[in-house]
Amino acid sequence: MEQQAGTDSWISSGGLRCVESQARVGAQTLGFMRAWIFGIWLCKVATAPFFLLAELPVSIFEPPVFMRMAPTEAWTWLLRPDVLTGFQILLCTCVALTALGLRPYRPIAATTSILLTFHQGLIRSFGHINHPEIPLLLATYVLAMFPAADGFTWRTRRQALQPSSLYVAPILLIAALLLLTYTAAAAYRMAHHGLATLAGEPLMWTIAQHSLADEHSLIVIFIHHHSTVAQLLRCSVPTVTVFEWTAPLALVSRRFRWLWLGFVFMFHIVTWLVIDVFFWESLLLAIAILPALDRVTAILPP
């Protein structure tokens, strides 16, 4: 009944006539997310000299499963400085074209996503697999599959817009992929190491190890001299874990979304200062995607 009343009031306030402008807002917001995400990738890929990877010994090169189909000779050829530089230039060009939303968008974006996956797989072939870029990488898959270049493009053109759900869905999906990674980390911690997590032991151990890596870290010395701060950090672990676990609630509750955004900002800054772990890619994604989600859900009918 309540939903019907809301729909009636939306229709009577001229909501149906606004379908096109809603679609435009959706297209612009999704286009902004495309430019933001591929812009971050461009900064990452363009600034680090890739050809230096050729210096690393081949004996520590172990590609992930999806890259093992290539024969050994292919890797020997690829891991040459000139080829790696060529690959970096190609990747930067594709990422830039996708960020600008140039046509034909789908093939360019799909190629860019594949090349980015290969780039990240190549980096991770040298000994250690870690997580910082994963949500940002998964976001490129979503952007490549949905019409993310109908707005906020380099050249404005008259474009037949799609239904607004086609612009809202990818924003929701990118947000869900990001938020679920926090849920997964918390779920594992609570399910397999609940008591240690409650006592804050892993954090204290990690701070101790960080103090070895950076023995003159002012933060670590400060924590030592202020036992209350150490206790606060230890006590914050259960709260942080609950916030991580409940992250997907930010998809459905506007109030929680802003609360969670404040939490995740503090969380990444504190972990950066205290244990020198900074997932800045996830933070940049969160501070763009959650307000974007707020914007597009506001234009939807009740």
């Binding site: 210096e55 000994g127 869905a169 999906l173 990674t181 609570m190 204290m204 670590v220 609630l249």
Partner: protein, 258 residues
């Protein structure tokens, strides 16, 4: 989506993850169960051989056991993990906004959405380093055994100056801390390895990696290049993490630059 539909969807995805995680071990569990049940009918020699074979990895990439914890705790943990993830999935799927948005999509977009979510969640529960980019997220869970320990890599230059090497600064393309972790893992493996042949192969890889790090450093410091790199450990007990004075250092080995 209806309440039942949402529940089935959420549980199906996590159960798929649980099944894939357990699958490589089912054969082993069945064999252990058979050994327990048929103990009276098994001669001692056969049992011993079987135990030996069970302690070996039976499939490439599958560890000989789930973990050091008892199987009951492990199953309880896995169940709880799956339920915690499923509960949040359920909350999302049940939301009117999400249901309406995805319900309005064409079938191909729905397939893409469900496919990505499934891969992600299955990766959380049953993924490994091999399933990149769908990985498990298990960071900072539990306390590693032993005291905190770090490896230090100090270069000695032509002029005799000692330079603490920052692997990330030397090879930024690998990303923060990745090269540092590679070197630390190699050093830890070398310290723990007792078998001579394996130690030789580990040593060759470690030396090649450190020499590469040294070469990359020398490209930018032609005026005072490194002659050798000294590897040492820094340790402290977990209750005195704070003061530099409490840190105990031990030189492990050094590697000459060619």
């Amino acid at each position: 989506m209806s309440r039942t539909g949402s529940l089935v969807f959420s549980l199906t995805i996590v159960l798929l993850g649980v099944a894939l995680r357990a699958a490589p071990y089912l054969d082993r569990v069945a064999r252990v169960w058979t050994v327990d049940r048929g103990a009276s009918a098994t001669v001692a020699g056969e049992s011993e051989t079987l135990q030996k074979s069970l302690s070996k990895p039976m499939l490439e990439g599958v560890p000989s056991q789930f973990s050091q914890r008892p199987i009951g705790l492990l199953v309880a943990g896995l169940t709880t993990e799956a339920l915690l993830i499923a509960s949040m999935l359920y909350v999302g799927v049940r939301s009117a906004l999400i249901a309406a948005t995805f319900g309005a999509l064409a079938v191909r977009y729905r397939v893409v959405t469900i496919g990505l979510l499934t891969l992600l969640v299955v990766g959380f529960i049953s993924g490994s380093e091999q399933t990149f980019p769908f990985l498990p997220w298990r960071m900072y869970a539990g306390v590693p055994s032993g005291n905190p320990q770090a490896y230090e890599f100090v270069g000695i230059s032509h002029s005799g100056q000692a330079v603490r090497l920052d692997p990330h600064q030397i090879l930024p393309a690998l990303g923060p801390r990745r090269l540092e972790i590679i070197l630390a893992e190699q050093s830890a493996s070398l310290q723990n390895e007792t078998q001579a042949s394996r130690r030789d192969s580990l040593w060759a890889r470690h030396r090649a990696t450190l020499q590469a790090v040294g070469r990359l450093y020398n490209y930018r410091h032609l005026e005072d290049p490194l002659l050798r790199i000294v590897v040492s450990t820094a340790t402290l007990s977990s209750d005195e993490f704070h003061t530099p004075a409490a840190i105990r250092r031990r030189v492990l080995w050094s590697i000459e630059m060619n």
